[in-house]
Symmetry: D4
Subunit: 217 residues, 8 copies
């Protein structure tokens, strides 16, 4: 087939390949799932539609699907989750992106604490959860609309913050570009930004950071 599975990746990076399901043809997707499952004994895919899940389910009845995040997976039992990543969202509409981040991080062995709907328009909600946020090795701040959450969190923690702009909002949010610009221009220190709605990328990098923190805990 055309696609070249990157089987050296795990050795090179310490992470198995993850399947980006969106837009893949059925036949193509089944082959990739099969090959990865065989080699790794587990498999993890993002942005899967319900149709893709049901198609794959016929061949792999053990496959699980999370409708909110669009994640499919077959996961080994008894994997350990170490360290701590705090995944925060501004609103409830950001939760699909947050779950992509959280479950990616968990799949790669991080312990995750979810702190959702704590946007800056009601600051007391965020302040009430500050301890949970400050005790993480890395914080993921997820927000659409004006994306101010990242700056506020950045000013409250001493650990790196990965900011994820989301496409939540309308009008001049320009499908997430507005939140992206907010986060890139943040006046707070220790913030770096990934692509709009890229929960996967945030979960991946947060795991890299979290691993540094847990290595000798």
């Amino acid at each position: 087939g055309y696609a070249k599975l990157d089987t050296h990746r795990k050795i090179r990076s310490g992470f198995a390949e993850v399947i980006f399901c969106s837009g893949k043809a059925d036949e193509h997707l089944r082959q990739i799932v099969g090959k990865l499952y065989e080699e790794e004994g587990e498999v993890f895919g993002t942005r899967a539609s319900k149709e893709q899940y049901e198609m794959l389910k016929k061949t792999y009845p053990e496959l699980e699907y999370d409708e909110i995040s669009g994640i499919i997976k077959i996961e080994k039992k008894g994997k350990k989750q170490e360290g701590k990543i705090a995944v925060c969202t501004a609103g409830t509409a950001d939760i699909s992106v947050a779950e992509e981040a959280a479950q990616t991080a968990e799949y790669f062995g991080s312990r995750v604490e979810r702190i959702y709907d704590v946007g800056v328009s009601g600051l007391h909600r965020l302040l009430a959860r500050l301890d949970a946020i400050q005790s993480a090795n890395c914080v993921i701040a997820i927000a659409g609309m004006e994306g101010a959450l990242a700056s506020v969190i950045g000013g409250l923690v001493d650990k790196p913050v990965i900011a994820v702009p989301t496409s939540v909002g309308y009008g001049a949010n320009m499908h997430g570009l507005s939140a992206l610009l907010t986060m890139i221009n943040s006046c707070a220190n220790g913030i770096a930004v990934v692509n709009i709605d890229n929960g996967y990328g945030a979960g991946y990098m947060a795991t890299q950071i979290n691993r540094l923190g847990v290595r000798h805990e």
Copy 2:
């Protein structure tokens, strides 16, 4: 001359004309100052350069100049300042815009409280001044870079917030467009936005709002 002074404006709007000095030729500027002074007995101009001030000073020795905001004025004595507008900035670099807003509002009869350098990267500074902010009839929130201050204030007060994006910052701030987008997309309620660095416009509209609040105090 070409320029048509809008002498009916005060009757129509309750506000005397203010001179936008930037880019005006010397001869032109002197004429306008002269005519307004004659009609109103006072005069107020924004965005004046030091050169313009010194040129005008020769004809009007009573003229005052504020270097930070670029405001020139000759003001009647004993004018009353009523109600209350809170003018807040995220950083010290936003103060020139803030002073344009504050002095405009004061010229038009509003009482102003200045609350500067309370940006969201150090939230305790803002929370320490909350009483002062919450007791105003209208709040002006001024910030550059990512402009998150407006959202945070919007969530903490029950009065209208006028947000002023500033051109403070660099790179992807795109000369203030980033802060403007942040503020327009704010998830907090009761926020409306004026042009980048438009302290004058904010001070003017805040006065309109403040007047409603003081009318029968």
Copy 3:
């Protein structure tokens, strides 16, 4: 559940929470409606689809739906509407946004006068309604395409104008960004701008302003 209803909001801001229905899952939406109704004795939601309305109607037969604005509500009887907000539109296509603004303001206790289809391409229509506009505590100016209405109204009234750009138009209107830029750059005084199509935000802030005007009437 994930969503944190902001039950302190009314005390903090004087406004009950309003539900942004667009994109919410059925189950989620029903819970929020239920909880708010219970606490407030009334409920108000924006951007509801007909499907959402019909789903909710089964549980709450007293729910009303306005197809033009997409507003759902159960409202207490006999609420007073005070002061005056003028809601103006440039064309008939802007009316859905105008109704979101007007009904939000009415729900929060403002008296609203509707002045629709008075765009600047036929100025006599606007001038014929000038008295109605000038007697309001606050004017909401709603326009798509080039959005010039806000500037013209701004020059004719002495009260604050909240400008709402709409996505009405085509081509270089860029889904409302063109009207937004027009309004932000307005040469008239006393204008501030909210997000594209954000009737809710304009109605909310206009109510804050109107309340200042009526407090001691």
Copy 4:
């Protein structure tokens, strides 16, 4: 030399070539002026700096310079100006562009009426001059900031309107792009737009239109 003077142009288009002086090397500019003068017995250049004028003046002492518009010219005596073009501006800062338009049209034989500083923030100024505007064969509407003037004039006349956005303004005016978008999206009929600050292009096309109107007057 490199530059190819387009000597067939006058036959092809009915207009002699006009020199765009900005950025031309001194030697280059002197040659072009010389060659055109020789062939036409007159010469007309736009966007000339004072330095360029003084350099050329040495060779052509009959050369005239208009500092406001940056136009240089040696014009034949006794040329007739026919028909009528109305050149309108929103503010005084737009006058340099307006003079480029007006003097271009006059050079090519159009009669011009100047109607300056009649922007929409004070509508009475425009309405006071309506007769003068409505009696022209073509109207040039020049405005920066939000550029609403073109729409308002477009709704008041039955002749074509050429809209010229200017770079006047600051912040989100984006050096004139905002006014350009306003004018391109105008809800009024009979408006077409030229480049930002392109007074020359407007004066040229207005003359083409005016000539159609005067041909058999």
Copy 5:
């Protein structure tokens, strides 16, 4: 009803109102068609869908529909078409916009010559029709993609050119913005631009210009 039909328009501008059908509700559209038909004895609408046509056809069996341009009309018999407007397109995909322009101009009494598919990638096609183009009072140049047609025509005629960018193309054409920018920046003289796909606006203004040319023919 909400919509204010602009019945003074014909007197003010010499043009009857034209209906922009897109997005209008059925009931609303039928009323406007009825009212205009009654007053004018004819009716003309742009951007009508087939569904709208069929709905209206039931009440007005004499209504005609042109599928390519989306124009609906009932037109008086024996109207005269005078002068000449040349309507040129770069490709066949631009024809829907061209027909909106041509039929608008014809409805308002202009004679139109159609010169389609003469884009600059095969220059001989354009040069073969040069006489037809040069004999018009006004030329409408319609092109998508890079929109170079307007510049080439502008260099070949001595009459005003109205340039219409279209949304034809893909990728970096940005839905027509690329062609719009090309045309606004044209190096040729005598070109002005209307909104993307705005055939109506071009046909309207071309008629205004053509009328000047025919007035005393």
Copy 6:
């Protein structure tokens, strides 16, 4: 004075305040330097001009200045540098940003290895330094123009990569926005992005990550 020094910051974040010198008035800058020096016994500022340095030097003769990065500092002797951050640049023009990053990280106690001028147009230069890059706890990838360096490094290491777009380049680089977009859209995993030219922000966050790696080494 207006500026509020954030003296609780070190406790909250583990980092002393750093001075952003650009645009600060002399008097203001001297005060802040003085106050921080007093409290911390050392001081560190970015984006200082030579003039600012010379002004401060008079009061603080022990102040050092690095012309390439614009950093001023007075640093305590014998500070330890631990762990490892690799700072990579695509070209030599990116070195000023790289030094801002590297010296910030060193000031906060990180060991830095500089790997400059290893852009992707000559891949062998990068591959020759791979060991040095792969042994770091965190990599900073700095590039202007098309910014491809971040993606290539991201595919070669298993540690987090902080990408810094620079304004190096011309034309369609749009002052660094092009490189920013490249980096945000990277197909490689484990990359997050800071503002254009923001070496400071990258050095700060890299230190946070590096500290996690060294804590128990």
Copy 7:
């Protein structure tokens, strides 16, 4: 009919006309296919939908369709393919564009080598195919997301590289604009760029270049 088939094109350019099927009406498309087939004895179309193919198939049963690229064709037997063009993609999602490029080049007589899924996030995949790439007369580099592939290949070959940005990606990829900017700003030499997803244009120009290389092989 309206469309003017450019029958002189083959003589002028050495290439027969290719049909851009997208958006063409059925009747129109059938006529063009018929006319070209008659004149050339073969026919080639891009961006055909399955529906268009099936419609045409009824009249031309010998027509072939490639679902991945959307290409329809009837090709003469025994055509020679000479020289060599290397067509490279970053990911599997770019293959539809790559096939449009490859099959266009093959139709016009070029020999093509396909090198797919060799994006920069796993550099070893690209390096493994270097010989194949370096032996081509021209390389086509196709990539979405951040588009870094073109720069890396540009640094490794001594032949011209045609870069094709694709719309593959999400969020800040802005439908391919991000990859386009990356490629236009490439720091490597010998790269030029065509429109987003324009496989056809790349295949055409690569053939022009390849023909120069094979002319006297």
Copy 8:
């Protein structure tokens, strides 16, 4: 020093390194010139200022400088120039970019024919030079403002066209982005685009193409 001279480049690519002088420090520039001169026996730099030239001249009295293009060079005598590249410009203001392209191509051994000031606003100038353009192996089309020249040439030749947008123009040309978009969206075949003002890149790639054509002439 920091800069790594790419001494393997000539072997890898067949082209010696060229120095991009703009922004390089004097000391740095002198070293690079020295090292390249030593290794190659000749040296070639672009975007040099007069100051840089005079500084270098002291050490290398044989250095030549072309003020129009900003090129510095010491070139071996008797180098052969083969094949043919046509370098075309729309206006005289584009000549500085054209000379960067032409002299780069000549330095690398191509024969160049210059065809300047043949923009589309006066098509006869271009048509008069058609033979010269059609006989080249590769055409470089250079234009600012609306950049239509590339499309027109693309339709007239059967060889590859490299389009160079220039920053010439004002207003909505957005410093060359408008011309870039025009060229990328060209409706003509066989056109690819390099960065704004990138004469060097065009001359380099044209040479690669020309070499293919001359290899066996």
